[in-house]
Every structure is written in structure tokens, then in C-alpha cells.
Amino acid sequence: MIYKVISKKEFRRFVDLLVKSNSSFGPQQVDMDSRGNPIYQFKQVQSVEEIAFDYTATASSAKHFFLPFREELSRFTFHEDEWEQKISYEAEPVVLVGLRACDISALNILDDVLLNGHFPSPYYLAKRKNSVVVGMDHLPLPDCFCKSMSHHTVTTGFNLFCSDIGDNYYLSINSSKAFSFLKEFETRDPLNEDNCMLAERRKLIQNSFQTEIDVTALPSILDIEFNSPVWEKWGDKCLNCGTCAMVCPSCYCYSVTESFDTNLKGSTREKKLYSCNLVDFAMVAGGHNFRPKNGDRLKYRYYHQHRGFAENGNQQICVGCNRCGRACLAGINPKDVINDLRMEKESCLTCVSSSPART
């Protein structure tokens, strides 16, 4: 890693050139929510003016550049009685500007899950290799809990990471690609003052987190509380819409479907992102559903997010961005569910009902 300092004006010039020369995506305001807060999304940008550098967090995550909602896995072409299968792992280079630390952390987790497992995914690798990630730090939203998951800072997984230190950006350069581009621009080595300002900026971010979740020993709690009434309580609220998985930066479960072309000369095998909260997630042919209840499916999601699977080294995949909590139509958010599960006094179901003081 090489550290440099660049003035904001020069940085904009750099981003402008990068954006104009490549297919680039950056945060843009797309709408307002009912409370008048802006909604941001990653959109294709043509120049630096279109990028909202001061955005809070995007509604959808950056995973969709690597795991699109629909992705072609292979194509079959039919002729006479024969067919032929074709697969291509090609991806076009993209530049992603303005990713938050937790978004990049989520990409690192996806790397771990999809590239280090038993069967690495070439589709994902091709996309990941052909991307340039420019990260930016930010002050957390009131409901973010990245700090609790230790994902409020990031040290790998990006090409360039900028920390806002007043008039300048403190750059962490993590790839030769980014370094050689920056050679064309005016940068300087960080001075002692810059380092101080970076430390202060980091402290400020760290102290700005208003939401914290106690995740100590959460994997074992999830195991122990497998039959907890908490799951039924929150499961009853769940609408099975799958929104949480769609906005989650690290949810990667999918479904494979195949469809014929309309001229019947070929067919496409397609992968579609799926959600474990959808009713038929674990339903097998013949109609048996291994997770028939809302609570079972919600539990599975938390199990995956906060306990992790043995195949991925029991790694927790939640980064604490709280996109799921913000997007949930039924008002389910990780903080409340986990606190319930930890039997925090004010919300514990079992203690409240059987407490002698209450009866």
C-alpha cells in the first residue's frame, strides 16, 4: 500500500478523466423517500459532476456489478437432434467510484465465499478482475452498525481509497493500476499533519456510530437459540418479499432457471439472485418444504448472516450497513432481532411471560 495526499480539485480532475475514459458508475440521487431524505443509487456517470461525493449510502449495494440480478451462465444452441453448450467468462472493465468501506468489506467477503471455496466461480472472478474500485470513507448513518461488525474500516479489496481530510484527500493506493494513473496528477507524500488529520478523521468516524449491536459469541447464541420464540415473533411480521437479500451487499444465494429462445433454436441457463425468505427457497420437487414457516426462513437468513457456513470458515457475512433494516417493509431490522435473541431485558419474550414480578 502506498499513501499519497491529493487536493480535492486535483482529485476531481483525476476522477473526471477516469470516468470519461471508462464505463463508470457512481452514486447519484435518484429520488426522495417519504420523509424527504434523498435516495442514492449507483448509476452510470459520464463526468465527475454527476457523482454525488457527499452521499450517505446507496439503497442497493455495489454487489450487483459483480452479482447481477440476472446473469447468463451458459447458452445452448440446438441443431437437428444435437445441441452445443457455450460458456463465456468475459466481463467489460468498469470503474466504481465512491464505494463505502462496508461495501468494499462486503466484496471482500464475497471474494472469500465465491473464490476460495471448493468450486471457485469464474463468472464472479472475471467481473471482479475487470473492476477498478475507488472507495471513500464517510460518516455513518444513525442506524449503521458497521463498527459492531468491525467493517467500518477496510484495508484490502479496493484499488484506491480516499479519506476526506479537509481540503485534501488522503489516498491509500492498493494497485499498480491506480498508482500509474495517479502519476499523471499532482500528489505529494503525506506530511505529519496529514497523518494527524487522517487519525482524527478516523476517530471522528469511529465515534459517530450511534447504533451498536453486541455480537460477542453470536454464532453460539444462534445455535443455542435455534428454537427460540423470537424467530416466530419476527417471522410473523415477515412478508416473505426478499427485499432484504436484494439490497444486502453480501447476500449471494441464487436460483438457476433455463428458458428456450422464442425461435426454439437455443436456450439460456440463467442465474437469478434469490432470497432465503421467499417461500419456495427450500422446497423440493414433490412439494415438501424444508422450511415451511416464515420464522424458519428468517432464522436461516440470520444464521447465514451472523453465524456463517462451515464451508466458508464460519465467517459472518453481515457487514452492518443496515440496508436490510432500512428497506424492510415490515420493519424488521437486525438490531432488534439480535437484541431479542440475546434476551436483552426490555424485549425478552420468555422472561417477560414467566417472570413472577409480572404475574
Partner: protein, 305 residues
């Protein structure tokens, strides 16, 4: 205007980036062919019952055919282009390198389409995936094979293994239950298994018909007929989800050690490679750690049976 100095060149991925430390059968991920199927020709179709057919497949490419190896208990993803792919357990002998046999029930979208195709059609297979029955470990022991309904399909591979290495095993009992006599599969092989391979076969049906001479009842009723030395026994159980609980509970009570009992689980699968998460059971995947689990793991995994 794009400045050529800042244009990011496109990079292709190469095989060196797939240095997966985990053994991958047939080295498919090394060749980056994890999603490419082996093309197979359907050489024979046997109708077993109204709902089940036995498909015989032969891998077209001789090199791929020579490369393809599997272990009893593993499954593969059978792909019918245009319709989709389904996980099917292999029910042929793993010493047969020429043909694969798959026993398939017509139950979903893909399998219904499979039932319409004729001999000579081409399908694709990916795999084999998953864990297998530890046949070497079982040598020198009594073996208890317990199948319910279509559960006989994954049990045929270990059964073939036992038949081929019959002198390695002591007493072998096959307990097989079905709903109706007409739903019993592979009845044409019963005699061969009993007379030639000396496997004691016990069948039972839930609802007998007029021609049924055997027993009626649940599969657990068959346990009264057999006497096994539990200390020297291995058990393999496969059947509908409801069956595991009763049968494994009973075997546990009998005293068969938990790590001597194996079950083959069924889950929804879309990739077979531990990526789609559809087959997650407890904290692991059926397609990687399973489908064959020992009873100890099953007891430890949440919502496995």
C-alpha cells in the same frame, strides 16, 4: 473524450487463479469448466413403475468418459438443455465406467420433460458432487441398508459395491418399504440380490393389494425380523424426510454407534457447488458436506431431519 492513458484494459481470467486447495473430482474447476456439462447419450430407458424410470447414460466423449469417476452415494446434476438441471443420485455401480444409471421419478418440471425424451437423446451431466458412503470403512462389518420408496436409488450404488466385494462384508440386510406393491422398484433384481449375492431382503408395503403376499405396515415393523450384532454393524438409511426420524431413532436405541449410521439427505439444489445456498442444512451445505452424513453430524446439524 476517452484518454487512452486512462482506459482500463480488459483482462481475461486464467486457470492459475483457481488454485483451489480442496480436491475437486475430475479436476473440473482447474479447467474452469465447473459449469460445462459432460455430454451424455441416453442409451436405454427402463420404465420401472408409473412414476419412475431408469435412465442409462453414456458420456459421449471417450476422454471425458475415462476421466469420470464417482463414489457410491454421490450425486450429479443432470441437465436437460432448455429445461434446467436437477440433482440426481447415481444408482449404478462405480466400477462400471461405460454407463451411468439414474433412477428418476417424474415429479417436477425437468423430470417431466425427461420422461418425454427417447433413447438416443443427449443430455448433460455435471459432477459428481458431494460426499460418499465410506465403503472401505464398512468392510468387515454387518451392513443394514434401509430404504423407503425412491430411497432405494442412492442405495443401489453401495449395494453394487457390496455385491462386487461380497466377501468383505458379513451379513447384509436390505430393508425396503414402499407405499404400495406397485411402487416397489427394481423388483426384477430382488432374486439376483438374494440368490447370488446372499443379501437378505425384507420388503414391506403400507397398503397391500390382492396379489401382495408380503408384509404390510411401516418400515420400522421390519426390525422385528432381523437380529444384528449392533457392535459390528453399519447402517445406511435413505428415504423420505419423515422416515429418518423414526428409523434413525430406532437404530440409535438398538445401539448402533452414531458414526456407523449414514443417511443420504435430499434438498433443493441449483448449483451443486456450494454457491447457491439452496441446499443449506444447519450450518453446512448438502452438496459439499453431504448428501451422505453420518448420524452424529445429522444430530449436530440443525433442521437436518
Amino acid at each position: 473524450m476517452p484518454d487512452m492513458r486512462f482506459v482500463i484494459p480488459r483482462q481475461n481470467i486464467n486457470r492459475e487463479e483457481f488454485a483451489s486447495s480442496v480436491p475437486d473430482f475430475n479436476r473440473r474447476s482447474e479447467m474452469m469448466n465447473t459449469d460445462m456439462g459432460f455430454k451424455c447419450r441416453i442409451t436405454n430407458i427402463v420404465r420401472l413403475t408409473e412414476q419412475e424410470k431408469l435412465f442409462q447414460l453414456r458420456i459421449v466423449n471417450p476422454q471425458e468418459r475415462a476421466l469420470f469417476r464417482f463414489k457410491p452415494g454421490q450425486f450429479l446434476m443432470l441437465e436437460l438443455p432448455g429445461y434446467g438441471d436437477v440433482p440426481i443420485s447415481i444408482s449404478s455401480s462405480n466400477s462400471n465406467h461405460e454407463f451411468l444409471e439414474l433412477c428418476i421419478r417424474k415429479v417436477g418440471h425437468v423430470t417431466s420433460a425427461l420422461f418425454t425424451i427417447k433413447e438416443g437423446a443427449h443430455v448433460a451431466i455435471r459432477g459428481p458432487f458431494g460426499s460418499s458412503f465410506p465403503m472401505d470403512e464398512m468392510a468387515g462389518h454387518n451392513v443394514l441398508l434401509i430404504a423407503g420408496g425412491l430411497g432405494i436409488a442412492p442405495l443401489r450404488a453401495p449395494l453394487f459395491w457390496i455385491n462386487e466385494h461380497r466377501d468383505h462384508f458379513l451379513e447384509v440386510n436390505l430393508l425396503y418399504g414402499a407405499k404400495e406393491p406397485s411402487q416397489l422398484l427394481f423388483t426384477y433384481q430382488f432374486e439376483e440380490w438374494e440368490m447370488i449375492n446372499h443379501i437378505r431382503l425384507h420388503t414391506i408395503v403400507e397398503h397391500g393389494d390382492t396379489s401382495w403376499r408380503g408384509k404390510t405396515g411401516m418400515i420400522t415393523d421390519l426390525f422385528n425380523d432381523i437380529s444384528v450384532d449392533v457392535k459390528k454393524s453399519y447402517a445406511i438409511v435413505c428415504g423420505p424426510p419423515i422416515m429418518f426420524k423414526f428409523v434413525c431413532g430406532y437404530l440409535d436405541k438398538l445401539g448402533i454407534p452414531m458414526n456407523h449410521m449414514f443417511v443420504s439427505l435430499e434438498r433443493r439444489m441449483h448449483c451443486g457447488m456450494g454457491k447457491c445456498c439452496r441446499c443449506m442444512v444447519g450450518s453446512t451445505f448438502t452438496c459439499i458436506k453431504g448428501p451422505v452424513f453420518d448420524y452424529w453430524s445429522v444430530m449436530n446439524l440443525k433442521e437436518a431431519i
